[in-house]
């Protein structure tokens, strides 16, 4: 018996073509589109991490900007103070820093659930934001910290190469590989015995405790993993943006992470990914189209919650079910 059983193999089959499309994309679309998609994939990694808490553990964090921001600032600081230019080391810095912060914040937060968890995560992320904002001589304040293009696997950007071209090709592939790896890892985690334990905690905390799952410990580990994924995303985001500002630490950005995930559908594994990519397009479009883009996004969110609570993936599932039923009812010729 192969370790990958029936439904699992189907997932691989479904994921294959998508990855192929993502691979050839930079050759067929404008660089701008590729860069936009890179942002989407980076946010998707953050959303995957976030949804380990919301979708699988039942904890709604309103402070995930903290880990994204810590990942990003760790990169900026490492570049600025340690003069490191290797992206791999920078990612390591981002991961370590976000793991540290998530480990500490998690200790505090996992003892609570529901709205208290939400407010606590929010308050702690605001602590970081206000520090980044006030200690401007370290963080650059609202001006942020500028980060030069790093080297990827030891190779630096070609002399005279256009930054856009670099981002749209080499960096895109870099992000893509990490995105695929992160998705695969997360997929295994949520389907592991540990992942089942998290879902059990989500469904029924008391009973989980009574089958021997130590709820706080598991929540803490989930929190840590969630923070690390989001921190990785933050670190990857820096070269795309070229600049780290307190905007990514402020709670509105946490709200956006929640938004992506619900947009895609937090009850499915792929929902957050789809949501992050779609949201990124939606926001880019709205920002380019009107100064009142926040209002536009707000209207989308309100409509979503009222009319489409299961998100895009929920809608897709419903439609495909309808179609397959229709298909079955039509007799074969």
């Amino acid at each position: 018996m192969s370790p990958v059983s029936g439904p699992n193999r189907r997932v691989l089959v479904a994921a294959g073509p998508i990855v192929v499309v993502l691979l050839i994309l930079p050759w067929v679309v404008e660089p701008y589109q590729t860069v936009l998609l890179s942002y989407g994939l980076v946010f998707a990694i953050a959303a995957l991490g976030f949804n380990l808490l919301l979708g699988y553990t039942g904890l709604l964090s309103f402070g995930h900007s903290a880990y994204f921001g810590v990942g990003a600032y760790a990169v900026a600081f490492t570049v600025k103070y340690l003069k490191v230019g290797s992206m791999e080391l920078l990612l390591l810095a981002g991961i370590l820093a976000s793991a540290l912060v998530a480990a500490v914040f998690g200790l505090v937060c996992v003892r609570y659930t529901r709205i208290f968890f939400g407010i606590l995560t929010l308050a702690l992320s605001q602590v970081l934001w206000s520090l980044a904002f006030k200690f401007f001589w370290v963080t650059g304040g609202t001006d942020g910290l500028r980060v030069p293009t790093p080297t990827l696997l030891g190779v630096s950007i070609d002399a005279g190469q256009d930054k856009m071209a670099f981002l749209a090709h080499r960096y895109y592939y870099y992000v893509l590989v990490l995105f695929v790896a992160a998705t695969a890892v997360m997929w295994v985690i949520v389907h592991s015995p540990f992942g089942k334990a998290l879902q059990a905690i989500r469904d029924n905390e008391t009973r989980a405790e009574f089958v021997g799952v130590q709820v706080w410990h598991y929540r803490w580990v989930a929190f840590l993993i969630s923070g690390v994924f989001t921190g990785l995303a933050g670190a990857l985001w820096v070269p795309l943006n070229g600049l780290t500002t307190p905007d990514i630490l402020v709670w509105n950005f946490s709200g956006e992470i929640v938004f992506f995930t619900v947009l895609g559908g937090f009850k499915t594994f792929a929902g957050p990914i789809v949501g992050a990519v779609v949201f990124n397009y939606l926001k880019t479009f709205a920002v380019g189209y009107t100064v009142y883009w926040q209002m536009f996004l707000g209207v989308v969110l309100v409509t979503l919650v009222l009319a489409l609570p299961t998100g895009i993936m929920g809608m897709v599932a419903r439609l495909s079910q309808k179609w397959s039923q229709k298909w079955k009812r039509t007799p074969a010729p």
Partner: protein, 258 residues
């Protein structure tokens, strides 16, 4: 309790007490369970049966008194430590993982029992041993054909059975079943109790079953403990309980009316 002196005492509470404000839910209770027996805990509504189980299983902290399990004082042990020692329970109001499948509800209990829930990087479906065991337990409880259904979609009777099955799958030494047939129709009660008692006996598990239906109790349990207003009123064989004047006055009378 004299007659129990020869047998091995598995669990013993001494002067166990829990008050909720004015309510003396469990009041200086000395309660003993002997290894290997299937014991019924009876008593009218509010007698303190569930509270007693909650205290022993660690859901709520005790006010005073002691709980000794296999010679060790476990009064202040955490739920987790008590589970690890082999004390499991089911719930009066069904407590399941509603969005997980019936199979996964059991698989989780088995993973947890075997310390495998710490595994992050293996697929749970790939563990054949756990899967087979979960299926076997489902078969014992007559739930095998519901394996792929989410627990939230089961009928009340099936949910009660699954609740017991999840506790049973932990392979405990001592199993508390809090009203395993509550909320199901009278017709369904006997089959459920048949399944539960046969599984428990086959697994050589010591069990304490809370049950309101006296016919069921007399039929399945050789020893009965009757509670009333937080204290133990009587303790004995079905025959002794049936003929105990206090029990008849306080419990069986009420039973007859309801």
């Amino acid at each position: 309790m004299e007659e129990d002196a020869r047998a091995v005492s598995l669990l013993k509470t001494t002067q166990l007490t829990k008050y909720f404000g004015e309510t003396h839910a469990v009041d200086h209770v000395d309660f003993t369970v002997t290894e290997g027996e299937v014991l019924a805990l009876i008593g009218s509504n509010g007698a303190g049966k569930t509270t007693l189980i909650n205290l022993i299983s660690g859901l709520i902290p005790v006010d005073s008194g002691a709980i000794v399990f296999q010679g060790a004082d476990i009064t202040r042990d955490s739920i987790h430590e008590k589970i690890a020692r082999g004390i499991a329970r089911s719930f009066q109001l069904v407590n399941l993982f509603d969005q997980l499948t019936t199979l996964d509800n059991l698989a989780l209990a088995i993973f947890s029992r075997d310390g495998k829930t710490r595994k992050l990087f293996t697929l749970s479906d790939a563990d054949r041993a756990v899967r087979d065991e979960a299926v076997a337990v489902l078969q014992q409880f007559g739930l095998a054909n519901k394996a792929g259904m989410v627990a939230g979609g089961l009928s009340q009777g099936e949910r009660k059975l699954l609740d017991v099955a999840v506790a049973y799958a932990l392979k405990p030494k001592l199993l508390f079943l809090d009203e395993p047939t509550s909320g199901v129709s009278t017709r369904e009660k006997a089959p459920i109790m048949d399944i539960i008692t046969s599984v428990v006996r086959a697994g050589k598990i010591t069990a304490v079953i809370v049950e309101h239906d006296m016919d069921v109790v007399f039929k399945y349990c050789p020893r009965i403990v009757a509670m009333h207003q937080g204290t133990i009123l009587a303790d004995g064989t079905p025959e002794e309980i049936r003929n105990n004047a206090q029990v008849t006055a306080n419990l069986l009378g009420a039973q007859a009316q309801s």
